[in-house]
Amino acid sequence: MKVRLLTAAALIAIATVMHAQVRLETGGGEAHFDRLPSSALTSLSGMLDTRLGLAHLELSGIEQDHLAIGNAGAFHAALHATAAPGAWRIEAGPVIDGGRDIGSRFASTYAGDVGIERDIGPVTVGSNLRAGVAQIGAQHSAWQQPALHAGWQVGPFRLDAAWNAIVLRDSTLKANDVLIAGETRPDTLYNHDVRNIQEMSIRGSWGWRPLALNAAVGHRYGLRAIPETWWSAGGALHLTPMISLVAQTGRQESNVLLDLRGGVYTTLGLRLEMPHAHPVHDDADNGQRALILHDAPGLVRLSFLLPVGVQRAVLAGDLTNWEPIALEPGTDGRWSIHLADRPGTWRLNIRTDGADWQPPPGLPSRADEFGRRVGLLVLE
């Protein structure tokens, strides 16, 4: 243990000198701050990936300050409606991306996306189709992007393969001299080109705490496309439950749709993961709604975030012999109860203001045998 702590301290010191990097993670979002000692590049980025009922929201952005050269930045936003009929998972919704390279004008693309995925044993297969329009300065493009992907999980190993095509019809405004020459018919205002680009990538990962490794390689080729190969390799070493040392290097691919350049990168930094109150669920939509706290010997305190306006709430379950017991309201909208701390998986429900029994918010649930759902409380 002492050796591990000393190693952790040494690695933290090395990492801090080489590259300051902070990454905060919660159940549904992340924030990064990077700064190289040379001050050549400072980047700030954030990401939110959360589920709101049947909706899946993704937001991310990055801003890079290349000192003495200029700024670059990009953002991504997607809102998908989700459904899971049978073994399938389906998502569909709008996607918006935007970005600005150094010295370039802002570029954006607006698209619709529909995807389908399912598990077949240890294999996950899926496909999606995205289509939209992109605007890069005076050029606009209509594009379609069909894609296929497959993943294979065997124990701690995971292998993912993906293929996609990007078919762009670029329309570029002709130079002014053409217009001056009199060719002013609308169908002659633009030059049209078609690019048909293929991309393939393979990604492998292996994770076994405290170590996780990953590597990926991809290649792009096609009609009127500049061939490009990208790759990455890296890993994370969990020093403590909260702190990980991470290292990653690779070549980032360029962004065809937004005309953003790629480049080589190397990063070494620390990742700080915010601790979960045990065992608070890391599902983004449930994370704050149930707390299970061991704050008294032999007792466990359950605390639920109930809707505003609830006047009375009772809990009944295996640990109460299914006798309803009142939950105590707190000042922060949470309702709490102390129960005997007995290891096992226990069933329980709550009832608010005389309504029907429901699984407590934030706890996993399953169908009971009586036409309702029952919450599951796991105590270790």
Partner: protein, 183 residues
């Protein structure tokens, strides 16, 4: 002689009555009508006589009563749970603890094949199966694929992971490895 015999039989009957009541769970008799309680107690007693734990059956009956289920629904639920407990004991062996049987029965009722219980028991050896099964129940109840969860659980068991390792499993650990996304 007849009088003596009658007195003796009466005394024996009075002595036997409390013994018969001892086989009934007070919680059942307190919450159900005598007829329903007798029916439920018969199911529970038969399970107990097979060496199966009575507590999960009692709790399931109390749950049904609390939710206003009909007697038929409760009896059927108990019957299914008793079957699951039996299957769990066959899969895990006669040395399985009541807690393990309860957890295993819950996993079976969520669709876990009995063969996986046996495999898990073999993988864990002399370590308990409570922690991996609890993790399995927790993850699958959160919507994680049962097959993926089993792959992760069995792999951990194969590597002789500790109970704490199972307790730390999250849906993300099973669905994908978040470290892939770095940076």
């Amino acid at each position: 002689m007849n009088t003596r015999r009658l007195v003796a039989l009466s005394i024996m009957a009075l002595a036997a009555a409390p013994l018969a009541l001892c086989g009934q769970d007070a919680r059942i008799t307190a919450r159900f009508t005598p007829v329903v309680a007798a029916h439920l107690n018969a199911t529970i007693d038969s399970a107990s006589s097979e060496g199966l734990p009575a507590e999960p059956l009692v709790l399931r009956a109390l749950e049904g009563q609390a939710k206003g289920a009909t007697a038929d629904q409760i009896v059927a639920a108990l019957s299914r749970l008793r079957d699951a407990l039996r299957t769990a004991r066959v899969a895990l062996g006669s040395t399985a603890t009541p807690t393990d049987l309860m957890t295993a029965a819950a996993a079976l009722q969520l669709g876990m094949p009995p063969s996986r219980l046996t495999e898990l028991r073999q993988l864990r050896g002399d370590r308990g199966i409570g922690a991996p099964l609890t993790a399995y129940l927790d993850l699958t109840a959160r919507g994680v694929s049962a097959d993926r969860t089993w792959d992760r659980i069995s792999d951990l068991a194969r590597r002789r992971a500790s109970d704490a390792d199972f307790g730390r499993l999250t849906p993300r650990d099973v669905d994908h490895q978040r470290d892939e996304d770095w940076p």
